[in-house]
Symmetry: C2
Subunit: 438 residues, 2 copies
């Protein structure tokens, strides 16, 4: 879907921001990175300060003995992704930010109120420079509606988690340059625009509590079944047991190893890539920004080769919408297995079969309930685009459901997303997309 | 506390079992281990089959740069710890097992219905030999009341978790040799006996749902405040935010390394120990058992040097009991920090200060509400004894509460223990002990 043709105050503001924050991102050879370098022993790609992140190697030793190795991003810190909310005239609004990230296709995307690193919030009491962080950290923070540690891409990140927060305020809040209050219904509608709402905003929206969801809804049988699904299955016990069954069947060992030991991967002057051309590359970029604290910097990025796909198949059963959820292994996840979209490509390993892929790719366009091309974390990934879809199974079509998939209600997913290690990052994005269909 | 002098049918049965399952456990040099050996490259202690567990090295890189190294037990599998429950005459009973474990001081302790490894449950459909496992695994299992993945000792285990389950049945269940239905109130009372209820049973009892707890209670103001604490604070949101604050402040990197690289530790013919004599040793034993599937085997064990202490300080505030909980870092925990007893010794590092230790050690005996010497996992640890205590803060005494401690209600703890990564193993044991005081 492309941007709506209709102009709105938001769109006018957005054009201004995109123009004001124009920036340049250029590929460079690794040798031109400032402060970054390959460690003499082991070859990990690190920053001289010991801060930020490192690119290391990962060895995956599955039960069947087929070992795999790959580079992986390691950042043993918890960041805060926070959206500040406030009611105006009875409508929940979110304070959103137009934010430049070097890996974004269009550089500027719509971001949460704060995306703060550990060093940001540890200096919040000493006059930190991260706008609005005081609402999320420390004794003076606002009313916390959501506060949960959630995982990020397990194929690209080692044990990465961020703190997803929604905080409510009642008093006046100054609106700084590049920030804007966006009504929640409008924000959810913006999810339908390609590459606009960034991953950090989507994961927080995926944790929205029931009370905040807009009440006024769409008409029609699909929307009615969708809303019914929210009210169904608050007890997710059986689904949790199924997830534990899948986790328990595996014996997965994953270990960080020196980047030099990732056999099959080759380091050239400007990229690290696999012999077989699969997966992703590690590259380096120079960023020239008008708007960030630092006007120019260099950094490595992980660049996926292909566009990804994240799709939920849904069906109506007795007037309630059900979502076909996958219990999916990803090597960098702390808990190894989390709930994921019905279909997620690229697969973890190149030779992995992807059940239901045909059903998604061959879906009748009338059954595609949500469809947008959205970006993954632009601070770490270069042009990482994923097509997010919600597709209704055609009337009368029955799907065989294997051990690693299960029909669940949205009520069950919302119950589980209150805690970490249940819904993976793409499942949370899709949950936000489902909210936009109410 | 020592065993009650009063004889009961349970005690008579227990004496029989202890006698029938007599076994011998003897220290041996590593060279006499069968099937176990040190890998030529890196020196990890492994079994030739690739099964069971390994003893590897761990490197801890805290934010302050003071690196530490130690051996650690690694077993990348999820076991099932399950208690089968059934009502007899309106009273919940638990099917318990008298089970020998080589590391137990007294070898036989009271264990859950099943303690199953992955290879046990993966062969359950092919005529597995683990009694009662069919109630916990597969399509035919009973009504699942509790099913949650919980951590174990983060100082000794690398990322170890087990599946804690409580399953209810209504139909007849044959009672096999070494098993016995024990009424839940009696089982909770048995927690007061030294070295009787094993760690695996305690962690499952720590996950007991509210509905199963015995209703008839003790009299007196303390018991009333205790029961009130169960009904208070179902919303544990603020406590979760505090736990996330503590987690977020740290930047901890922990990595598995070859056992040979644990500088400061020395491998002798029959033990691996630290230069400074602190902490624990790795030893090897030969076991001769009358009752286990295999009559004789050898294995490594981790042997702590000193008795541990795990104590909750509690206080009455407005007629409700509150528990002083610690957010504690342990290097082998997946999430690094979990809720722990007010005081837990030994500390993670030898030079760590232990707040409230003096308050526990100097407590007036009239304020000691629970006190028993209980064993940690006898399948992996040798004579690992911990003194578990619940101590009421003396009337009028106020305690200063630091950033890493917080007063919580039992209702909040029970809300959090429904999910993994919140309460550590000793906190769950102590929660079971609190249940015994109702």
């Amino acid at each position: 879907m492309t941007e709506a043709a209709v102009d709105t105050p938001f769109r006018a503001w957005w054009r201004e921001q995109a123009s004001a924050q124009r920036s340049e991102v250029a590929r460079i050879p690794f040798a031109e990175l400032d402060g970054w370098g390959f460690e003499p022993h082991g070859g990990n790609l690190v920053h001289a300060s010991g801060k930020f992140f490192t690119v290391e190697g990962l060895r995956i030793e599955p039960d069947d003995g087929r070992e795999a190795r790959q580079p992986i991003i390691h950042q043993p810190e918890i960041g805060v992704l926070g959206i500040l909310v406030k009611e105006f005239d009875g409508v929940v609004h979110c304070l959103m930010q137009a934010k430049m990230e070097p890996g974004n296709l269009n550089t500027v995307q719509l971001s949460p109120t704060v995306q703060a690193t550990r060093s940001n919030y540890l200096r919040v009491h000493r006059g930190g420079r991260t706008r609005y962080l005081e609402h999320f950290w420390g004794a003076g923070r606002g009313r916390v509606l959501v506060d949960v540690l959630q995982s990020e891409q397990g194929a690209w990140f080692w044990h990465k988690r961020n703190r997803n927060m929604i905080v409510q305020v009642d008093g006046d809040v100054p609106v700084h340059e590049a920030f804007r209050w966006v009504a929640l219904p409008e924000l959810l509608a913006l999810l339908h625009s390609d590459n606009l709402v960034n991953m950090d905003a989507r994961t927080v929206l995926g944790c929205l509590p029931r009370d905040l969801l807009p009440r006024q809804g769409r008409t029609g049988a699909f929307a009615a079944a969708l809303r019914c699904s929210y009210e169904t299955g608050a007890d997710a016990g059986a689904a949790r047991s199924w997830l534990l069954d899948v986790k328990s069947r595996g014996r997965w060992t994953t270990r960080l190893i020196p980047l030099n030991d990732t056999h099959g991967w080759i380091r050239k002057s400007d990229e690290i890539s696999a012999d077989d051309g699969s997966g992703f590359r590690i590259i380096a970029v120079r960023v020239r920004s008008r708007s960030r604290e630092v006007p120019e910097w260099t950094q490595p990025l992980l660049a996926p080769r292909d566009e990804g796909l994240a799709a939920f198949l849904v069906r109506r059963a007795g007037g309630t919408l059900q979502v076909l959820v996958q219990a999916r292994y990803e090597p960098g996840l702390l808990e190894h297995v989390e709930l994921a979209p019905t279909v997620r490509t690229p697969p973890v390993t190149a030779d992995e079969e992807v059940p239901y892929l045909k059903d998604v790719l061959s879906a009748d366009h009338r059954n595609i309930r949500f469809d947008a091309l959205l970006s993954e974390e632009g601070g770490r990934f270069h042009h990482a685009l994923t097509r997010y879809q919600v597709i209704e199974v055609a009337d009368g079509q029955t799907l065989e459901v294997g051990d690693n998939h299960r029909w669940m209600t949205i009520g069950q997913l919302m119950e589980l997303v209150r805690h970490g290690h249940y819904l993976n990052i793409e499942a949370r994005s899709l949950l936000a997309c489902l909210h936009s269909l109410r």
